[in-house]
């Protein structure tokens, strides 16, 4: 008998209801993507928590950096002029 292959790790994303994005809810192990979907249904939507599920093999995900404090995001840090509150508009100007 050949040694059993470790089941890969899948990340699970659930759309809670129509109109919402899929949101990451956790992970699970499954032999293939089809089994991952069925297991995700049983594990993460036992109480009508979803209308749609995505499963993605964890190793297929490319992430920004090994750290959540990422200089990658620094370029947006000093651009306050991208926010509407940066601009002073007199209060008597309507609909702004």
């Amino acid at each position: 008998m050949e040694p059993s292959r470790e089941w890969p790790l899948y990340e699970v994303f659930v759309r809670g209801k129509r109109g919402l994005n899929h949101v990451h809810v956790g992970s699970l192990r499954a032999a293939d993507a089809e089994m991952a979907l069925r297991n995700a249904r049983d594990l993460y939507t036992r109480r009508n928590e979803g209308v749609s599920i995505w499963v993605v093999e964890a190793k297929a995900i490319t992430a920004s950096s090994p750290d959540e404090k990422d200089p990658f995001f620094a370029p947006s840090g000093d651009k306050v002029y991208r926010h509407p509150t940066f601009y002073d508009i007199p209060e008597n100007v309507p609909h702004m």
């Binding site: 008998m1 059993s4 292959r5 992970s27 049983d42 750290d67 404090k69």
Partner: protein, 323 residues
């Protein structure tokens, strides 16, 4: 010390300061953040023990699924035991974010290198035990777990939020089961009282040893992976349970249990800590059986895991050939 060493030292200090500041601000530590090795190993131990408890916790009640007295009770019990499996899996998933290896965690459980909650080493000889486990054991678990929804480790806190929502059903179905028995015959009422007598003290032990003897409490509180001490949570549980017992019409088996107006809490008797020590160290009524059942399930399921992997490999190969 050369310049490179100094840089490395400064880098490590900065990372530790970042880590501590994140906790200080009540923000969450996420999987790929730097964290002290001891924080990581403590979290793996805490999450794995919790996951193991959920998985082993399927057994005492699972034994009653085929013998539940009605289809309604059977469906409820099945859903509950399925939830316990789900809770175990959420938690193993959280442990994996810390680099823990899932098969290795199972191996550690089966070989006795990692523990699970002592409460699941007690037997369930009566159907009233299903109700009492829901009421007292899940009630105590909720007391323990609600503060963990604010654990500093993000994936664990998020798993706990899901778990706590589902535990509420567990506790209520148990209490309702007991109310139904209490409205029944005299023999059924005796059955409930007898079960309460057996589970009350082990439930109090679920909060762990008294604060004075709890070895990890201080560090865990500083890291915000524990939010209240064992004795605080135990007191909260007693205060919550006393009126529930009165409403049910059962007696909690503790002659020293009484309201203390001065403290604003109930006083209660001393837990038999030697029993907790004995059960944790492996000498409870069901320790060997629980592990044996888990081992058999794992070994008997090996061919299924292998067959599924072989099937997946074959399909992947065929898709490759077709492309």
């Amino acid at each position: 010390m050369d310049a490179a060493d100094t840089d490395a030292r400064t880098g490590a200090d900065a990372r530790l300061a970042d880590f501590e500041r994140t906790i200080e601000r009540d923000q969450r530590i996420e999987p790929r953040d730097w964290m002290p090795d001891r924080y990581r190993s403590t979290m793996v131990r805490q999450i794995a023990q919790h996951a193991h408890s959920e998985i082993i916790g399927m057994q005492p009640e699972g034994a009653w699924i085929t013998r539940a007295p009605s289809l309604r009770r059977k469906a409820i019990l099945l859903a509950k035991v399925q939830d316990e499996a789900g809770h175990g899996l959420y938690l193993y998933s959280a442990a994996e974010t810390l680099g823990a290896d899932r098969p290795e965690l199972t191996a550690r459980l089966i070989s006795g290198r990692q523990k699970y909650s002592s409460i699941f080493n007690y037997p369930t000889p009566s159907f009233a035990d299903v109700g009492v486990i829901g009421w007292l054991v899940d009630g105590a678990a909720i007391c323990n777990q609600v503060p963990l929804c604010r654990s500093s480790y993000g994936p664990y806190a998020r798993a706990m939020i899901r778990i706590c929502k589902e535990e509420s059903f567990h506790q209520r179905q148990g209490y309702e089961l007991l109310m139904t028995l209490m409205r029944g015959t005299e023999a059924q009422r005796r059955m409930v009282q007898e079960s309460v007598d057996r589970w009350w003290w082990p439930s109090l032990m679920m909060f762990g040893p008294p604060d004075a003897e709890s070895t990890h409490t201080a560090q865990s509180m500083a890291w915000k992976i524990k939010r209240h001490t064992n004795d605080e949570l135990r007191q909260r549980f007693v205060d919550m349970t006393v009126p529930q017992a009165a409403a049910l019409g059962v007696t909690l088996p503790d002659p020293d249990l009484r309201w203390n107006a001065e403290r604003g809490h109930h006083d209660f008797g001393e837990v038999d800590w030697s029993e907790l020590k004995r059960v944790i160290s492996g000498d409870g009524p069901c320790n060997a059986e629980r592990i044996e059942v888990r081992r058999a399930a794992h070994e008997d399921g090996a061919w299924v895991r292998e067959a599924a992997a072989a099937h997946a490999a074959k399909r992947a190969r065929r898709e490759g050939e077709a492309a």
